[in-house]
Symmetry: C2
Subunit: 175 residues, 2 copies
DNA sequence: TGCATTGCTTTGCATTACAAAATACTTAAC
DNA sequence: GTTAAGTATTTTGTAATGCAAAGCAATGCA
């Protein structure tokens, strides 16, 4: 009963570390965190429609639209209408946008990977198994996350046994 | 080299799960996430000065002030001037505020603890050790986090070997 | 007393966030 | 082919974050 507290504290530390890292990167790039989040998501997934982007980041479409407005004004992202379906609009990172991300200092996952690869095989396995367990407990198991630490979010969930707030957001109470 | 990717994905899933949970809780309580964050921080730490609160949550004092304004309007928090130093203002959760938090559904950490305690001792140890390792890698090791998952943030850091963005936020580039 | 410091609030501004309405396009039905 | 229904995005309107800079009050020290 001591250890569960320890584990919770450690989890908090981990989450907080990534949060602080994000804030740091945010200041460094001159982008706000949601803006950075869009850029990272695009970097990983390539061009996405606004709707996809919104779903990936768990935001309303309208929110993403206005974030993209600002990114476009900074010429980090370009909007491109789909040819096959002219309702769709693809958000594409520009050269400058990708450059900005590339020029960012060693990211947290770089650090992580470097240290991780230095470990013994048994330790790597232990960590993966543990994370697997924790992830499963938190109901995160089914989430289709990209291998990216600093930011972003995915959503695809199809099977059962999932806390319903992990499925769809909608609730009565509003501020 | 496969495993490090696995680990990163799992970490992302874990972080995302807590984020989604926070959003869920936010809708459920009718509070915004920063507001919830303040309440949780106060629940854990008891009454705090505005400055302390700001430091705990890594926000500017001005930001916390305005969040508290809203929480006070909702009668979830009460401001109380310190007797010993009348410059200081303590933010105290009200009865209603504590009640609101208590009435919230089983939190993520409850779920976690329940599942965790069911594990074999060796597995518990393995997980703690793994989290310890990960936390250390991410430079989170030194962070004095409260045993609280959903939200909140602490900051105390004194020793060395720490990425400097984990120490103090200040940078030239500004949007 | 004089004055720098500390702690908080106010002010002004940019950004995020979302629901609801409006717009533009596509597809299915007839 | 025209209409109706549905889909994808933007617009609009409102509230909340988030911060820097300025302002104000209390403290403490020289």
């Amino acid at each position: 009963m001591e250890k569960s507290q320890d584990a919770l504290v450690l989890l908090r530390q981990i989450i907080r570390a990534t949060d602080l890292h994000d804030k740091h990167l945010s200041r460094l790039t001159g982008l706000t965190m949601p803006q950075l989040m869009v850029m990272q998501t695009l970097r990983i997934n390539g061009p996405l429609t606004i709707g996809m982007l919104a779903k990936e980041m768990n935001l309303a479409q309208a929110t993403v639209t206005s974030i993209l407005d600002r990114l476009e004004r900074k010429e980090l992202v370009r909007r491109e209408r789909s040819h096959t379906d002219k309702r769709k609009v693809l958000a594409c990172p520009t050269e400058a946008g990708l450059e900005l991300l590339k020029s960012a200092p060693a990211t947290l996952q770089d650090t992580f990977i470097r240290e991780f690869e230095d470990m013994h095989d048994w330790e790597q396995s232990m960590i993966v198994a543990s994370l697997e367990r924790v992830s499963h407990i938190l109901g995160a198991h089914h989430i289709d996350a990209a291998p990216m630490l600093d930011i972003g979010a995915l959503d695809r969930s199809t099977d059962s046994g999932v806390p319903d707030y992990l499925r769809d957001e909608q609730s009565p109470l509003k501020n």
